[in-house]
């Protein structure tokens, strides 16, 4: 029989202006390495937090806690978001990344080395080391901003999902730059404002500016994708993003310069933005075609609920009466970081991680023989238990912190560690395919077929 010829896969789209499908970035290796580093930081941060809960209820400004917060945020959550972003940027914007693979791997190096130096420096009081680490992270963040803006400019997509990508990258660059200014101010004080107020502004630049903006945009691409649904009320998504951006632009200076009216108005606008986004998400979920809601999505939705609760709690904290209760600020931070952001990021990672592993291990075998489904790479039981335990742990931790119960705080820490172990075992089962998938031998080639030319 004559050999069949396979013409190259059609990359250009047939409809003018429509993007074609995008290939994996660096064969999924770069996103997976970012995510792997993030998961290692997650394991270390959860152990560290549990140890801290056994020591008693800490002050948010203790060097060890500042170090832990930076291991959790730029180390764990940001690393995972960066890994996912490198994969999602070209897919969501329908345009290839305009930088070489070398730059992307340099960013990985800057970020990982930067996190290690920053966290170690902050926890041990070596602020020069912390500043060097922060500079490396900031350099990577500024590079990512340039990459994102250039990809966005090359793209024809102009909706809230697309806009959230350069906006969040901009907030990230601002967050890391603000951190560097604070480090310089510690070495040679030159800022005439309260350092504690500036630290609050720095924290909210990252929490609200980067993470919330990213979530408010990307959710409306990923949730319909994972539920086989269609976005409902895109105008509410746009209004939600707009209100949050204006709110953040008021909240951050309001926090930095202790302007009560500005920060309350800003926080209020952020909450209004969340309400718009939340209503669009509820309607989008209601219109989904895949009826069962799996554990990843449940964890993700629980995280969004905690973020909204945390935002309302944050607004309440801005009123003078609330600040008289010790522990409420710690409870707010725990609710947002270990609750809202962690559940949201891990919930979405529960879908992205198996997909990336599947694409790398089994994608090239599609059409040539049987392959497992991405959703079947690991049994769902552990993940289903994880998000319930995580919610219980966060509820106990925040309540204990607010009430000043040291025993409750320690119990919450232990429960959080257990939840973390469950999720990491679940992730390990998925990642195991990177090793085991090769055991079935070389790829079968179709009878009489030649490989497509690149």
């Amino acid at each position: 029989m004559a050999a069949a010829t396979i013409s190259p896969a059609p990359r250009p789209a047939a409809m003018p202006g429509a993007p074609g499908p995008m290939a994996l970035v660096d064969g999924a290796r770069l996103p997976l390495v970012f995510i792997g580093f993030g998961l290692a930081a997650f394991a270390a941060a959860a152990c560290w937090l549990t140890l801290e809960t056994w020591r008693g209820i800490p002050s948010l400004h203790h060097p060890r806690i500042v170090g832990l917060a930076h291991l959790w945020l730029p180390g764990f959550l940001l690393s995972i978001c960066l890994g996912a972003s490198y994969q999602l940027l070209p897919v969501l914007l329908g345009s290839p990344l305009p930088v070489s693979a070398t730059w992307r791997w340099i960013h990985l190096l800057l970020h990982t080395a930067g996190v290690l130096s920053l966290v170690t420096g902050l926890a041990t009081g070596n602020y020069v080391g912390a500043a060097i680490g922060g500079s490396a992270i900031a350099a990577g963040a500024c590079g990512l901003l340039i990459v994102t803006v250039r990809t966005f400019r090359a793209s024809r997509r102009r909706d809230a999902v697309a806009l959230s990508l350069p906006l969040s990258a901009g907030w990230l660059a601002a967050t890391t730059s603000a951190g560097l200014i604070l480090a310089a101010n510690r070495h040679h004080p030159f800022l005439p404002w309260s350092v504690l107020d500036l630290l609050k502004a720095h924290a909210h630049l990252g929490l609200g500016g980067y993470f919330l903006t990213l979530i408010q945009g990307v959710s409306f691409q990923l949730v319909p994708l994972f539920t086989l649904g269609q976005l409902q009320h895109p105008e509410r998504v746009a209004r939600g993003l707009l209100a949050s951006q204006v709110g953040l632009a008021m909240l951050i200076p309001g926090l930095a310069w202790a302007q009560p009216g500005l920060r309350i108005a800003g926080a209020g606008l952020v909450i209004i933005g969340l309400a718009f986004s939340g209503s669009a998400l509820v309607r989008t979920l209601a219109a989904r075609r895949r009826q069962p809601v799996d554990a990843s999505l449940r964890g993700y939705l629980a995280g969004l609920g905690l973020l909204a609760t945390g935002a309302i709690g944050g607004l309440a904290l801005l009123f003078p009466a609330a600040t008289t209760h010790p522990g409420t600020t710690l409870a707010y931070a725990l609710l947002l970081v270990t609750g809202g952001l962690t559940c949201t990021v891990l919930g979405m990672l529960g879908r992205i991680l198996p997909f990336l592993v599947w694409m790398k291990c089994y994608g090239p075998r599609v059409g040539r023989g049987p392959v497992p489904l991405a959703s079947n790479l690991a049994p769902p039981g552990l993940e289903s238990t994880w998000w319930r335990l995580q919610l219980a742990a966060v509820a106990i931790l925040t309540t204990a912190a607010a009430l000043g119960s040291e025993s409750g705080f320690a119990a919450g820490g232990a429960l959080l560690l257990l939840a973390t172990v469950l999720w990491l075992v679940h992730a390990a089962r998925i990642l195991r395919h990177l090793v085991n998938a090769g055991e079935s031998g070389p790829l079968p080639v179709p009878t009489g077929a030649s490989h497509p030319s690149p």
Binding site: A2, G94, Q230, R289, G448
Partner: protein, 112 residues
């Protein structure tokens, strides 16, 4: 079961495409309604018009390459040409009854 060249028909080609699954939903590209047209031309040349569930489908290249390979493996097929099209745009109404059942699609909930 292998079929010689003369017995290679549209149904055999569709069956080959049914080996290609969406990795997320576990539904093959035929039941997903992604295959708009598939034609066997003289000399064993296969022409396919297909779409994806979204412009921004992250598995797009894998699915398209999978259809290429699955069809090229059909005995009697000498060449494969897959054309990606966006008109008409895919929507969930293109799902087969089997796919709807697997997704837990409640017909009454979407009947309007």
């Amino acid at each position: 079961m292998n079929h010689p060249v003369s017995h290679c028909d549209r149904e055999h080609l569709l069956n080959a495409c049914r080996q290609v699954f969406d990795p997320e939903f576990g539904i093959n590209v035929v039941d997903l309604g992604l295959i708009y047209a598939i034609d066997l031309e003289a000399g064993g040349h296969v022409r396919v018009r297909m779409t994806l569930t979204s412009f921004y489908c992250p598995a797009g290249t894998i699915i398209i390459d999978g259809v290429h390979h699955a069809l090229a493996a059909v005995p009697g097929v000498t060449s494969v040409d897959v054309q990606l099209v966006w008109e008409p745009l895919w929507n969930p109404d293109r799902l087969s009854p089997d796919a709807r059942e697997r997704l837990g699609w409640d017909e009454t909930a979407f009947s309007e």
